[in-house]
């Protein structure tokens, strides 16, 4: 009888086991992660060396920690057991597969094998194994494939490999759990036994004072070190801990930081030969970085340092930061290299080192651009884009007497002209030059715009263009325009293009009006500026017809 089934069952046995294999594995690998976090959190503070405020609840905390540790231990133990079960199961599978491999190798040796075939659970019957090379393999999920013995061997080999992978990951998990258990054990013992938590209890002021002391000592040490190191141009030891923000600068920032450090070292060696505190260098770096990154922040820091000036770590650095700037200004101003100690600076021991920095600073800052509020001033004019850009919203605007239409313009007074202009536009489609504008619009519209004389008043005297209301954003461009043109001292132009108005296809400004005062100049400029945006872009907001 064909004993194909026997093999397939055996195979399916393997398949089933591999099924459960997969079932078990994900569980194991996923869960430890959760535990790790919590135990980490627990263990970290235990060994911490941080000053804590005097607390009365120490014993409570203690027992809590203890309880938590025990819990942790217990859970880890559980997981460990599970993992070990899993591991043993996997190893059994692997052994079975290896047996199967051996069997498959020997199976095709004979055409038929004499075997005792189990019949039910209680009997065996002598029989033969035929078709010895044909093996039905369970691939999984109720799929079978008929394969030769050799191919089946390949399949089995692959399964063995899978098994080994899983065994390895299980062992890894086991190791992790063991590690955690050991840690927990140690901490537990520590709490009970000879190990003592190194906790210094101090108040806030004590802490501050100790920080101060520490800082002073560190500076002293570095002065010493740099003095010794300037003898040989080897780079001085790097500062103990770059300020926090430098670390937060990121890769590019850090690299430039290092470059700057090196450059500073060089300069120091060349020029000074005096001890220069790396801390100061740090601050210079800060400064340089800040200059490169964000000037305004620096300025703000400067102001802060001016205002606060407590003997705080951050402020110390800030204080130092702006001191060079002060010196810089004074240097630039009068070439005076006198030290200009900020009154807010509290730390005295920095004074000695500052003198040496000045020439360095001067040099460095001459190389770099100057930092000051003035320099930081952004250009206050608007770069008016090209006529063809989409940013420009051309506003048709005339002073017209036609009835104000229901145009959705938010600008007071602009309704009339826009309407008028539109009509005119429809009426005259081909205005080719400014003079045409005059011809088209010259006469009829003269009354309604007393305020905005911009467009085309031929007869009525031009009233002042200075808008009464400064709040309306729509007015701004006119004002800007005015201010540029006639020097009428309008308000400073807004640093952004004029807000969007309803579109119209007529030019916003007819230079005609403007050019009452400086008619010739205006005419000249209009003609020249029609084609391009010249350097006087702020003035020549020309829109082609």
């Amino acid at each position: 009888m064909r004993v194909v089934w026997a093999f397939s069952r055996e195979e399916s046995g393997k398949g089933d086991s591999s099924f459960s294999l997969y079932q078990a594995a994900p569980r194991i690998t996923r869960e430890p992660r959760v535990r790790k976090v919590s135990s980490h959190q627990l263990i970290a503070p235990a060994g911490g060396l941080r000053p804590r405020p005097k607390s009365q609840d120490n014993p409570v905390v203690f027992s809590e920690n203890l309880a938590n540790l025990l819990e942790l231990k217990r859970v880890h133990q559980e997981r460990l057991e599970k993992v070990e079960d899993e591991l043993s199961k996997l190893q059994k599978y692997k052994k079975d597969y290896e047996h199967l491999l051996k069997r498959l190798k020997t199976l095709p040796d004979k055409i038929t094998h004499e075997v005792m075939v189990p019949l039910g659970t209680l009997a065996v019957v002598p029989g033969q194994l035929i078709h010895t090379n044909e093996v039905l393999v369970l691939l999984g999920d109720n799929w079978f494939a008929e394969r030769s013995a050799k191919q089946a061997i390949h399949i089995v080999r692959r399964r063995i490999k899978d098994c080994e992978d899983k065994i390895r990951s299980c062992e890894e998990t086991q190791r992790i759990h063991l590690g955690w258990l050991k840690e927990a054990e140690e901490v537990l013992q520590g709490e009970q036994g000879d190990q003592v938590e190194i906790i210094e209890e101090m108040t806030e002021e004590e802490y501050q004072r100790s920080q101060e002391e520490h800082r002073r000592r560190v500076k002293a040490q570095y002065t010493q070190l740099t003095e010794s190191s300037t003898c040989h141009p080897a780079s001085p030891p790097s500062p103990p801990s770059p300020p926090a923000y430098v670390e937060g600068l990121g890769e590019g920032g850090k690299r430039s930081y290092e470059d700057l450090m090196r450059r500073l070292d060089q300069l120091e060696v060349e020029e000074l030969g005096e001890g220069m505190e790396p801390l100061e260098e740090e601050d210079e770096e800060e400064e340089e970085e800040e200059e490169e990154d964000d000037e305004e922040e620096e300025e703000e820091d400067e102001d802060e340092a001016f205002s606060t000036g407590t003997a705080n770590d951050a402020n110390t650095e800030k204080a130092v930061t702006f001191k060079p700037r002060l010196r810089l200004h004074s240097a630039e101003a009068g070439g005076c290299v006198e030290e200009d100690r900020a009154p807010t600076d509290d730390t005295d021991d920095e004074s000695s080192s500052h003198g040496s920095e000045k020439p360095l600073f001067l040099r460095k800052h001459r190389l770099k651009r100057r930092v000051s509020w003035a320099d930081d001033a952004r250009p206050l004019y608007t770069i008016i884009p090209d006529d063809s850009s989409a940013d420009i919203h051309h506003i048709a605007y005339t002073s017209g007497s036609t009835a104000p239409s229901t145009l959705p313009l938010g600008v007071d007074g602009a309704v009339g002209p826009a309407a008028a202009v539109k009509e005119a536009a429809e009426y005259e489609g081909d205005i080719k030059s400014p003079s045409d504008i005059f011809k088209v619009f010259g006469q009829p519209f003269s009354q309604s715009f007393d305020d905005k004389d911009a467009v085309l008043s031929s007869s009525p005297p031009i009233k002042s263009i200075l808008k009464k209301s400064m709040s309306l954003p729509a007015d701004a461009p006119y004002q800007m325009w005015r201010g540029g043109r006639g020097g009428r001292g309008g308000p400073p132009p807004p640093p952004s293009p004029p807000p969007k108005r309803s579109l119209s296809f007529k030019p916003a400004f007819s230079y005609r009006v403007l050019e009452r005062k400086g008619a010739a100049a205006a005419a000249a400029t209009t003609t020249t500026t029609t084609a391009s945006t010249t350097s006087a872009t702020k003035i020549s907001k020309v829109s082609r017809l």
Binding site: S18, Y22, L139, D141, F144, A145, D162
Partner: protein, 127 residues
């Protein structure tokens, strides 16, 4: 709300919370199972890709081994893999949703408990 009513409300909330928890565990169990199936089907897919046309493929349907076409078998398995992945995602979403609900419920319960405690204290103070 009197303490009795509040307590009843609290119990209701706790019940609802327990139900949500049960749902969560059920869904996550399903999801684990799906994970297993996914892995298995992936293996099958690999094996099927390896064998060539000459070999026969059977599928176990009930007590019978039904012969299948290799191509068809491959397609079936791929589709099954995709389907299982979708199911896993769906279950994952459900679990997330349920967890959020559970979180909300938990907070609610805590709030109610607090209220109850306060009331108890007030009553104790009054009497």
């Amino acid at each position: 709300m009197g303490p009795g009513a509040l307590q009843k409300k609290l119990e209701e909330e706790v019940e609802a919370y327990k139900k949500i928890q049960k749902d969560i565990s059920k869904t996550s169990g399903l999801r684990t199972q799906l994970d297993v199936q996914l892995n298995e089907n992936k293996v099958v897919k690999e094996e099927l890709d390896l064998i060539n046309e000459e070999n026969v493929v059977y599928k176990l349907i009930g007590p019978a081994l039904i012969r299948q076409d290799l191509e068809e078998a491959r397609q079936n398995v791929s589709k099954r893999v995709d389907y299982i992945q979708q199911e896993i995602k769906r279950h994952g979403n459900t679990i997330e949703k349920l967890e959020k609900e559970a979180e909300a419920k938990r907070e609610n319960i805590a709030k109610h408990q607090q209220q109850l405690q306060q009331m108890m204290m007030k009553q104790a103070a009054n009497t």
